[in-house]
């Protein structure tokens, strides 16, 4: 008889060869989990190679989901259940499985050849090396083959391909997930190929039924819907989708044509793909010939009065630097989205890192300040790019948004805003020629912003360029004091950008402040929760504005005896804070291509509290 145990939170990892469809299985499991009302966070982790040699460690692709009966902040540290579709997937993931965790393996993939490819000398299923886990050996391939037998038009290849759906069905049973969400997806996805649809559905049902009937797995887990979730209508989004929606919303609310120009680069290409599908909503996308052109095309569109956006990752940022500098000189709105990945150089294109902060701050020649924002969570990408658009337009400036690979690919439930609740964005174009007839493109309003006069406006013809401009007229000027004036004006404009103060979540009497930025948000919160459960006091503060920094930042830092800065790099924000505020900020960072884990951050904090 199968028992059902209640769990507050669970972490499941699907791991297999990159051809095994693990991202797909994980994605569908996410949908089913969202439908059930659990809070969730996901972490896809896949190799750079599209098809690394099958069965090798290099080809392992994994998808982790953390779901709970309460609000959660991260995709979790160590899985409680691991699905391993082959020996390589087992080998590269088993170290992280919680002792006592459930290990589901596709035993038929444990052939001599596959064991060799994964570097196993002996079959780990046959010795006692996995005794710490609840090992479930399941012949997924033959069970799938049997399930699809007799479906007309289905070959053995189709059966092989459907084994991820078998695994998904089994895990759905294990965690009591609804099956209709997955089945509806299968029906829609393979609408045009009835045989494939039936094979996938049969495999999924077989997996679910296998759990139900065999009693090989004697415990099922139930995770109740989350109850501490703010009321509202939700959907699941990853950072890429949220970014696309945020840009479209900014375009609609400002009335500006959205124009994204990008050059293919992992992991930012997904945004190009996503926005390219929205021509029916008036979105223009241009796949540029290179990163430089992508920035230039976006900036050219901005000169014409569009919401110009370019998206890339680290190596592309290097190439765009010159154009971003031009945008700073032209003082035109431009949004530059950097989906950070591990560097230097090509680095690790499919692994996350937060290591472009100093480049965003300083990576241009001359004095070329610009605002920098970083989203906290996948869903927050929506609000961050929306705010970036508002700042770019209001202050006539390029804005860098530092997202990262983790945020782009990770999913979470997102409370859908009402468009009417979004703050208005007014392009405030210059439309009328001044009375004396001379239009001055480099005069400034109280925000320090210059007029945005777009081609086609009679009487406002003007010329702008990268050469230093005379204050007011914008004419070329090599005058020494004018250059000092203009340099100060550009700096003052960025320094004066209106942003919200830094909020601190502090226990009364907390002596240590944990500070971070961007995607560190989740892990900081999760670590603080653990500290509090352990009865200790802690404070956290998260920076979404990296330039300018919130006006109260120095005051916040000085309120604590110790400050530790948590970021996925070797201490970039810590250095900025130390330099700016002369506070002895300590750094905790990790550059292993993955987000930080809550347990690690907890340990760092506890060590400092000892």
């Amino acid at each position: 008889m199968t028992r059902v145990e209640e769990r507050e939170r669970v972490i499941v990892r699907f791991a297999g060869d990159s051809g095994d469809g693990m991202q797909l299985a994980g994605g569908r499991f996410t949908d089913a989990t969202a439908a059930l009302g659990n809070d969730l966070a996901t972490l896809p982790d896949f190799p750079a190679e599209i098809r690394a040699p099958a069965g090798t460690l290099a080809g392992v692709s994994a998808f982790q989901i953390h779901f709970a009966a309460r609000d959660i902040l991260t995709p979790g540290d160590k899985p409680t259940t691991l699905v391993a579709m082959n020996p390589a997937a087992l080998r590269s993931n088993i170290e992280e499985l919680e002792p006592g965790g459930t290990l589901i393996v596709n035993e038929e993939a444990f052939t001599v050849r596959n064991l060799q490819k994964a570097g196993y000398r002996a079959n780990p299923l046959e010795d006692d090396s996995l005794s710490r886990y609840q090992l479930k050996r399941i012949p997924m391939l033959s069970l799938t083959q049997r399930a699809v037998e007799g479906i007309e038009g289905v070959g053995s290849r189709d059966a092989q391909r459907a084994r991820n759906l078998f695994a998904l069905g089994l895990v759905c049973w294990l965690y009591d997930r609804p099956t209709d969400v997955v089945e509806e997806w299968i029906e829609a996805k393979f609408e045009a190929r009835v045989a494939v649809m039936e094979a996938n559905r049969a495999a999924f049902r077989a997996g679910y039924a296998f759990g139900d009937t065999t009693e090989q797995i004697d415990v099922r887990y139930h995770v109740a819907p989350a109850t501490d979730i703010a009321p509202g209508t939700y959907r699941t989004v990853n950072g890429t989708t949220a970014t696309a929606l945020g840009l479209i919303a900014a375009s609609q609310r400002s009335g500006l044509q959205l124009m994204l120009s990008s050059y293919p680069i992992t992991p930012a290409s997904e945004l190009l793909h996503e926005l390219a599908r929205h021509a029916k909503r008036g979105v223009r996308t241009v796949q540029a010939e290179d990163e430089i052109a992508a920035a230039g095309i976006a900036l050219g569109a901005a000169f014409g009065g569009a919401l110009g956006v370019t998206a890339t990752s680290g190596p592309g940022m290097d190439l765009k630097a010159e154009t971003i500098g031009l945008a700073a000189a032209l003082e035109l709105p431009l949004i530059v989205i950097d989906v950070q990945r591990a560097g230097p150089s090509t680095g690790m294109p499919t692994k996350t890192e937060q290591s472009d902060l100093l480049m965003a701050l300083h990576g241009r020649h001359g004095e070329s300040p610009l605002p920098i924002l970083a989203p906290a969570t996948p869903g927050d990408c929506f609000y961050t790019v929306y705010e970036a658009a508002g700042i770019a337009i209001r202050y006539r400036t390029p804005v860098i948004v530092l997202s990262d690979l983790f945020l782009a690919n990770s999913s979470e439930p997102w409370r859908i805003p009402q468009s009417a609740d979004l703050p208005p964005i007014d392009p405030d174009f210059a439309t009328l020629p001044p009375e004396d007839g001379q239009f001055l493109p480099y005069t400034r309003n109280p925000d320090g912003a210059r007029p945005w006069a777009v081609p086609g406006t009679p009487g406002l013809q003007h010329r702008i360029g990268g050469l230093e401009k005379q204050d007011g007229t914008g004419n070329i000027s090599y005058d020494a004091s004018n250059h000092a004036t203009m340099t100060a004006a550009r700096q003052a404009k960025v320094d004066g950008i209106e942003i919200s103060p830094l909020e601190v979540d502090a226990d009364e009497g907390a002596e240590i402040l944990v500070i971070g930025w961007g995607s560190s948000y989740g892990v900081m919160g999760a670590a603080a929760r653990r500290i509090r459960i352990a009865g200790r006091k802690v404070a956290t503060a998260h920076l979404r504005h990296l330039n300018p920094l919130p006006p109260n930042t120095g005051e916040v830092l000085r309120n604590f005896r110790r400050v530790v800065c948590v970021e996925t790099n070797t201490g970039q924000l810590a250095n900025v804070l130390r330099a700016r505020y002369l506070v002895d900020v300590e750094s905790y960072g990790k550059v292993e291509g993955l987000p930080l884990f809550a347990a690690e951050v907890e340990e760092e904090i506890l060590e400092r509290l000892r």
Binding site: R284, E289, I416
Partner: protein
């Protein structure tokens, strides 16, 4: 004569002064750029497009300053990137007449990639490439069009590389309009510019331009009245390709299929700028590189092809139909669920 260019509105009675900005021109005395500026400002009123509908975008180099002297909208951008800026503008604004001003270093060296792609995309922009075969603004280094063996500050023993041929490159990049003209030819230059302006897609016009300081006389054989009849061949669509003081020489296809200079007036190549296959235009572009061959000027190619981002109207309509309710519907796309209060 008024022309419709890129949907431009006909404006009454424009004059040269409408296109002259108040900025003092600061090229070296005798620079060929003055002649080009005068020709452009002189012929633009004919187009009937008001100055506010025009945008001049330039890169870096002496020619880059051109933008500041036009009383139109303008961007003096960064080295080589003017075609990219212009592409972005053209992608979102179909109502403008967009001109790119560039040079041999700007377009064929640091910005060669952008030039090639603006041409193959057929972006509706007019690219004026001022070719003086030298870097002028940086004071006299060899450029990608400098002839092999040229002695400059950066090549004291003479350059060793082959020069690039702008017309050949453009044709290879699938350009739909390619022409060559000369700064000092006060009739030919505006005529070519007018044809470029009328072309719906991307137009590349190479303008041979004299740099009196660093490369004076580079095009002397083509501008000197006594020699020009033998050194230049004018391409006229539908006409036999002939040249010489008495028009007794011409260009013909030789038995091997390539083009040759012949001393006859019959059985010459008849120039067809509208020919879909660019290979004859390419063969013409190769002339003038060997001693005794005349250099062709005029329009090598002018063909109609789909223009980049030509779905402006549909896109604008889509955008105007995308209001708050549609945005809310988009935000609520996919599977949603509601958590009660």
């Amino acid at each position: 004569m008024n022309l419709q260019v890129n949907g431009g509105v006909l404006a009454p009675e424009l004059t040269k002064a409408d296109f002259q900005s108040a900025q003092e021109t600061r090229w070296c005395p005798g620079c060929g750029d003055y002649a080009v500026l005068a020709a452009v400002q002189g012929f633009l009123p004919e187009l009937g497009i008001p100055p506010e509908q025009m945008v001049f975008i330039s890169g870096i180099g002496c020619a880059g300053r051109f933008t500041y002297y036009m009383d139109t909208y303008g961007v003096h951008g960064i080295h080589g990137r003017a075609p990219a800026l212009a592409t972005g503008l053209a992608a979102t604004r179909r109502d403008l007449s967009i001109w790119v001003i560039t040079g041999d270093g700007d377009a064929l060296s640091i910005g060669a990639g952008h030039l090639v792609h603006a041409l193959r995309r057929n972006v509706p922009i007019k690219i004026l490439l001022f070719n003086n075969r030298i870097y002028g603004l940086t004071k006299g280094q060899a450029s990608p069009t400098s002839e092999t063996g040229k002695v400059t500050k950066s090549s004291p023993d003479g350059t060793r590389e082959e020069p690039l041929n702008a017309v050949s490159l453009a044709l290879g990049a699938e350009a739909t309009f390619v022409a060559r003209t000369i700064d000092r030819d006060k009739k030919h230059l505006p005529a070519v510019l007018r044809a470029a302006a009328e072309h719906p897609g991307a137009a590349l016009v190479e303008i041979l331009q004299n740099c009196p300081v660093f490369n004076d006389g580079a095009f002397e054989p083509y501008t000197d009245r006594t020699s020009a009849a033998e050194t230049l061949v004018h391409l006229e669509h539908g006409e036999p390709v002939r040249f010489g003081a008495e028009s007794t020489r011409g260009i013909a296809r030789d038995p091997a299929g390539s083009l040759a200079v012949v001393d006859r007036t019959e059985d010459l190549l008849v120039h067809d700028a509208h020919r879909a296959d660019p290979s004859l235009a390419f063969a013409l572009s190769r002339l003038g590189q060997q001693p005794g061959e005349p250099l062709p000027i005029g329009i090598f190619r002018s063909v109609d092809h789909p223009v980049f981002a030509s779905n402006h109207e549909a896109l604008a309509e889509n955008r105007s139909g995308f209001g708050e309710p549609e945005l809310d519907a988009l935000l609520h796309g996919g599977d949603t669920w509601t958590v009660g209060a």
